[in-house]
């Protein structure tokens, strides 16, 4: 009997290049489960990633993917959604990719608010390039480049996303696949850009923020009102333990629904073609 994939999104056996024990495996399981439970059609699903260990994730799923440049997943994903709003678009990449190289797109994609989900594998390190500090690395984090320990204030993606009025902001931890799945499901269901920062232990290069460390330094938000931006910000500043869960959620129009082309007609761009006759007429009317 041929080997059968358990999950619709699990491709035939692939060689997964992650290290044994890496948090990425759990994240992958959580994502596949979320997609299954939401009954997303793999043929309508596009994963967009940059470059890094996390960014290899789409290669290990059954879906369309655009595995582009380091740091540039957000503009690609935004444009895909704007060109074809019928697709489910998920960005999946690393903390370095999205908050470091891609920081400017993080700011402005949130302002645009396309209906996409942004999953950030936050291992607080650059994995693929063998262990330099990432924007979320802690103060004093030592690496072969940060030989004296990183002196930079760690980037707080949750607080920043709330400040930018991101319409959905959450944090998860791969140590809890079930909850991670639930949070991802909420994020996908949310209409607008959903930021999901996911603590993910890197067993090879981060000997500080280990599975155990994350376990000991996180807790789930309770009695939290995600519609309250100030409260969300307060919670976002909490550290050790770091809250997990949905910090903030707001209703904001998406960039694609505000495009004049889609106001009266949701047909994706690829099914529309400009009429050359109309163009000729337009030129004749306006340029003579």
């Amino acid at each position: 009997m041929p080997e059968r994939a358990e999950n619709l999104f699990d491709p035939r056996p692939v060689d997964i290049a992650w290290c044994p024990g890496c948090g990425n495996f759990s994240l992958r399981s959580a994502l596949m489960a979320a997609l299954s439970e939401l009954q997303v059609d793999p043929l309508k699903l596009v994963l967009v990633s940059g470059i890094g260990q996390a960014a290899k994730a789409p290669q290990y799923l059954r879906c369309h993917y655009f595995n582009g440049l380091h740091g540039r997943s957000l503009p690609v994903a935004t444009a895909i959604k704007m060109a074809n709003p019928a697709l489910t678009v998920i960005v999946e990449s690393g903390d370095g990719c999205i908050y470091g190289e891609g920081g400017n797109h993080f700011l402005h994609a949130i302002r645009r608010n396309p209906d996409i989900t942004v999953i950030v594998h936050n291992n607080m390190v650059y994995g693929l390039t063998k262990g330099q500090a990432s924007p979320t690395s802690g103060l004093g984090f030592r690496t072969p480049v940060q030989v004296w320990g990183s002196p930079l204030e760690p980037f707080n993606p949750i607080a920043t996303a709330v400040a930018l009025n991101a319409s959905f902001v959450a944090r998860a931890f791969t140590g809890d696949i079930e909850q991670t799945k639930e949070i991802i499901k909420q994020a996908i269901k949310h209409r607008g850009l959903a930021v999901v920062d996911i603590f993910q232990p890197c067993v090879s290069f981060n000997k500080i923020n280990t599975f155990q460390w994350f376990k000991e330094n996180t807790y789930y938000l309770e009695n939290h009102e995600p519609r309250d931006r100030n409260q969300a910000f307060q919670k976002a500043l909490e550290e050790k333990p770091f809250p997990l869960g949905v910090f903030y959620q707001a209703s904001r129009p998406t960039i694609e629904e505000q495009q004049p082309v889609y106001r009266h007609d949701s047909t994706p761009l690829f099914r529309r073609r400009l009429s050359l006759e109309k163009l000729a007429q337009f030129i004749a009317e306006t340029k003579t």
């Binding site: 960039i255 000729a280 340029k287």
Partner: protein
């Protein structure tokens, strides 16, 4: 005088833009061929700007240096000073009052007509620009009812008072000129032609934008940058009439990555930028090469390096566009020679990008983009063809085929998965490191370069095919050189509107030429070097360079003079 060249100068903010927009329209609608070009500074107010308007009985004008009439909207002498070298005793300066002209301009008679007075009479000093339009129209003798209509149309969106006062200002200027024509030293004897009225009046920027629409463009993501912003603005205004997503990105990196995302999802996307913005796009250009995505980049050149002269012109980004991006992949570079070609080559860019899954760069410059002229007809594509296709379940995005081209699928159309990877990949789009497969994939990508070469445009010959003097040029210099050649029957122009893939000049032409001159708007002679590298030119017959890099376009006169000198030297040799 069958060719009248008027320049209106003043400070930024004095309404030269109105002159620039209004006058050509009136002139064309009245049956005159018209060409205009603006010279403006990188500032919003003050400084010294000017617009040149050539009115002629012949179509297809280009930049002329020598000014017949200089109209000063300001009494600051800096404007005349800046333009002094383009004035002669054949020129006339028209100003509001007797200003102390710089010595260099003294040959040209100064005429003082009460521009400001008329403006105030119409309602306010700020209408001096409209008065000037009226005066020029009066001097040329355009049809008054037509003019009135254009003026009304032009100000139609303004409030009633402004509309009325502008109309009056125009009228007063027109009348004054008519009444005082006999005092005007130049005889402008242009007769209008009926067929001009039906021609299209287009700027280079509009031609690129309309060409994009004709290529099926329905997605533009860009970041403003002179001189390319005009294309973005034009497309934005067309989005009122056509299905077009217009997105101003946070930076050029985002703009170009958006364009790639849009193509992936089945849109036809373009970005428009200038050198500095293009510099930020070259990583993604390389990405387009790797993922075999179509991409159309409009690159409007301006003088560099760095910020350089933001609102001036140059042709110094040829090599940059040819060789930018890491790694090796085929690309197409089109460099329109004039406004008609800007339209044609822009829709061609979409066709080539889509068909061959390669990035296409449209290389223009400030001179071309900020020029305006009337054109007879535009060459449309037969149809807008989409080259993507529905996928089967066993779809492989990078299927190795004899031609190198793999059918391009898009997500959501068909039963297959469309997987792109910026890493080296196998046929399915999954990351690999196998040397043999790598080699095949390199060959596959480069093979497309040979395919697209088959559709490359050969250089265009303007003039006799046995000319003793052969000029080579590319891009926006076409019509300036073309006009310079009309007096010089022994010279022909071989003009390149496509630089990559590059077709060498026909050897017959080369072998008949005694002198080969390369004219280009840069300092280092990039076309010259390309001709050496790609066609081995320059070893047997030396290539005589004519370069310009002061921020201004070549003028018909300077090209003509330079060529005459070369002809003369040759006859003595």
């Amino acid at each position: 005088m069958k060719d009248f060249c008027v320049v209106v100068a003043g400070e930024a903010g004095q309404g030269i833009q109105t002159v620039e927009n209004l006058l050509p329209l009136i002139l064309k609608r009245s049956g005159f061929h018209v060409f205009s070009y603006k010279e403006y500074m990188s500032r919003v107010r003050g400084g010294s700007n000017s617009t040149l308007i050539r009115v002629s009985e012949e179509p297809g004008s280009a930049f002329r240096r020598s000014i017949d009439l200089l109209v000063l909207l300001s009494d600051d002498i800096k404007h005349a000073e800046r333009l002094a070298s383009r004035l002669s005793n054949q020129s006339v300066i028209l100003a509001n009052e007797a200003i102390p002209l710089p010595e260099a301009c003294c040959q040209a008679p100064l005429l003082t007509w009460p521009i400001n007075h008329l403006a105030i009479k119409a309602g306010h000093k700020i209408y001096a620009n409209t008065v000037a339009c009226g005066i020029i129209c009066g001097l040329v003798g355009v049809n008054l009812p037509v003019s009135r209509q254009v003026v009304e149309e032009y100000f139609a969106s303004k409030e009633e008072k402004i509309r009325r006062q502008n109309s009056l200002a125009f009228e007063l200027g027109y009348q004054y000129a008519e009444q005082n024509k006999q005092l005007f030293p130049l005889r402008i004897a242009l007769s209008p032609k009926e067929d001009v009225k039906a021609r299209f009046l287009l700027s280079g920027a509009e031609a690129v934008a309309l060409g994009a629409l004709a290529g099926g463009c329905n997605f533009v993501s860009s970041y403003p940058m002179s001189p390319s912003t005009g294309v973005l603005v034009s497309l934005a205004s067309y989005s009122r009439h056509f299905d077009l997503v217009v997105e101003q990105a946070e930076d050029e990196i985002s703009a170009v990555n958006m364009a790639l995302g849009a193509w992936y999802a089945g849109a036809r996307a373009m970005v428009t930028t200038s050198g500095g913005g293009f510099a930020l796009m070259v990583e993604a250009l390389s990405l387009a090469g790797m993922i075999e995505s179509p991409l159309v980049v409009h690159l409007g050149q301006r003088p560099g390096p760095a910020t350089g002269l933001p609102t001036r012109t140059e042709q110094a980004d040829l090599f940059f566009s040819l060789y930018s991006g890491h790694g090796e992949f085929p690309r197409v570079i089109l460099a329109p020679g004039n406004i008609e070609q800007a339209f044609y080559l822009t829709h061609r860019a979409f066709y080539l990008a889509d068909k061959y899954q390669v990035p296409v760069i449209i290389l223009t410059d400030q001179y071309l983009l900020d020029s305006l002229k009337d054109v007879a007809a535009l060459e449309f594509p037969e149809k807008i063809e989409d080259f993507f296709a529905p996928t089967e379940a066993d779809y492989l995005r990078y299927k190795i085929t004899p031609s190198g081209l793999s059918p391009r699928g898009i997500p959501g159309l068909g039963r297959g998965f469309v997987c792109l990877d910026s890493d080296e990949h196998d046929e399915s789009g999954r990351i690999i490191e196998d040397p043999l497969l790598r080699e095949k994939m390199v060959q596959k990508r480069l093979a497309k370069g040979k395919l697209v070469k088959k559709e490359a445009l050969p250089p265009e010959l303007i003039g006799r095919d046995d000319a003793r003097f052969l000029v080579l040029s590319f891009g926006s210099t076409r019509d300036v050189i073309g006009e310079a050649l009309t007096d010089l029957p022994s010279v022909a122009l071989l003009h390149y509107a496509q630089l990559a893939p590059f077709l060498p000049p026909p050897w017959q032409l080369l072998s008949r030429a005694r002198r080969i001159i390369v004219i280009e708007g840069n300092a280092t002679g990039q076309l010259r070097q390309l001709l050496r590298a790609e066609a081995g030119l320059g070893s047997a017959i030396p290539l005589i360079p004519l370069n310009k890099y002061d921020g201004l376009p070549f003028s018909v006169e300077e090209v003509r003079e330079a060529l005459k000198k070369i002809i003369e030297e040759e006859s003595h040799a």
